[in-house]
Symmetry: C2
Subunit: 323 residues, 2 copies
């Protein structure tokens, strides 16, 4: 079973399902498993900030799969940025044909990618930024709804609204992220006008995800209310798993605290400790509202096959409602 969309055609993959770039989680093993299951995974370049390391990790993926896969470039303001252009050139020279860009306008980098024949999927959190991305010439957009973990933007427009609003205005294919973990969601996204879905939390909760079993078990135990929005007050909203640390960040900022007051709680190193050691209170870790839709820890192949089958079932069910 399969569903062909403008997204699958543009990126040359079997299923309209993406594993978005996940810091520390999107390792070669996970991305290759996604590729072998017929979906499209993006390995974050910033996990391997030295170009020679990135090239090695890309080679690892290629050892594990002959299917298409991608590299994610999340370009955030940084005092000590990785050598982005070198990483980009190394990526396309390694033969990677798909990239996911995020964090800033990718216009300066499009020639590097598209000149080498790679397709560019740009992440946005609003209709207006998606239309801007279309104008500068990206190949497709991935729009985050308010549901999305990580950085859902400041507009607070969920997928039910922002997907059809974008579909009304955009010409290039787009996929949607945030709130998707099963085939009912894929069918909903297609109904609303998207050409596929991108998922994060669902892929964290798989056999192949390189994170501690405690984290996977907690995602299964959690429900749709088990997230916190942090840094709202700073207009740099992040959706993370609800725990003592994110509760505390929310409390301090609600009481008028500044970024400096909470920076020690939000460090990426502490988040890494959660994923490595399974100490769920060691820091801020990323998981979305789809925790309420995740009940098991299967292989990536099972996740993908099940989503496609569930979407087909949802379509069959709707056809049967006709009279």
């Amino acid at each position: 079973m399969a569903l062909s969309t403008r997204f699958t055609e543009t990126f040359g993959v079997q299923h309209p399902i993406v594993c978005g770039g996940m810091t520390r989680v999107g390792t070669p093993e996970l991305i290759a498993a996604v590729a072998n299951a017929g979906a499209l995974g993006f390995m974050p370049a910033h996990n391997y900030p030295a170009p020679e390391d990135l090239v090695k990790e890309i080679a690892k993926i290629r050892d594990l799969t002959d299917q298409p896969f991608g590299v994610n470039f999340t370009i955030l303001p940084s005092r000590n940025p990785p050598p982005w252009e070198e990483l980009m050139r190394a990526t396309v020279e390694s033969g990677v044909t798909a990239v996911e860009t995020a964090g800033q306008n990718p216009e300066p980098y499009l020639p590097i990618f598209q000149g080498a024949g790679a397709k560019v999927l740009h992440k946005c959190t609003s209709v207006r930024h998606s239309l801007k991305a279309e104008r500068i010439g990206v190949d497709a957009v991935s729009i985050d709804g308010f549901e999305a973990a990580g950085h859902p933007g400041e507009d607070d427009t969920p997928g039910l609204v922002v997907i059809p609003a974008l579909a009304d205005k955009i010409g290039i294919p787009f996929i949607a992220s945030g709130g998707f973990a099963d085939g009912r969601g894929l069918a909903a996204a297609l109904s609303l006008g998207a050409s596929g879905i991108s998922m994060g939390t669902r892929f964290m909760c798989t056999v192949e995800a390189p994170i501690h079993q405690n984290v996977k078990n907690q995602i299964v135990a959690n429900d749709e209310r088990s997230t916190n929005l942090i840094f709202r007050q700073l207009r740099n909203t992040g959706r993370y798993a609800k725990n003592g640390v994110t509760d505390e960040i929310v409390r301090i900022l609600n009481e008028g605290g500044t970024f400096e007051d909470v920076a020690h709680l939000a460090s990426g190193d502490q988040g890494a400790i959660v994923l490595q050691t399974g100490d769920l209170e060691a820091g801020v870790w990323c998981a979305g509202q789809t925790q309420g839709l995740i009940f098991d820890i299967p292989t990536v192949a099972v996740v993908i096959d099940r989503i496609v089958a569930e979407a087909e079932t949802a379509i069959d069910r709707m056809v049967a409602l006709r009279r």
Copy 2:
């Protein structure tokens, strides 16, 4: 064309589409138009708090349609509440076969309704409250996502997440509200496991809605970002149209103000002035994020027919994706 669901079967209507109870907007003319178009509208009892007036308004609807319609009972804390039980008895004695309850646990009133053969649709904003409603014996639930105008609750779980999360756990039929204004949304709701949709803003923006043309025009002009969440800080969140008044309420409460500081801005009388006079800055008025999906002011019949046709098209489009 039509789509049969457990909702249409339970409530004996043609289409799985509800016009939820809207203060001042859900007049007999609008509710009858919804009924004549094959959907189910609920006239708010609190618009006519004297039982003899409510009976007269119900009779007006019956003069205008021979199709099923309902009455909404939104029971909020009040110093001077309407005579709820009298209104309920008057409703069922008038032969009304569907009621929408909201605001508090409807358990004490179920015998009045169900003893007279009326079906009860209870509005909830979370999975847990929906399951409670099922346990006490309501016939169906209408779940509000974060997108919903009016009172979307405090959980901030959009429909993409809360609809399938509820579908996994509930046995009775349920419909979904918030973020729905067209047939793509209806198909998405059905994909996610709901048996229909409830809409408000879309019905405000129809020929028959008894509100000033300026309000309808502004809904068309607005987009998905044109709402404000007020009273968040008081844990009594309301989603209303973005204007100078709701901006000011948000500002005052963000700066530590209390309900007393903003009560004069949020009065229902001022909201009524907006709807009557079209002075869009006269007070707080209700419209949801679906403003980004509304581009015209058709008749109710056109809205309903178009939604069903669009949903059919969305289903056809998905069937065509199969390979």
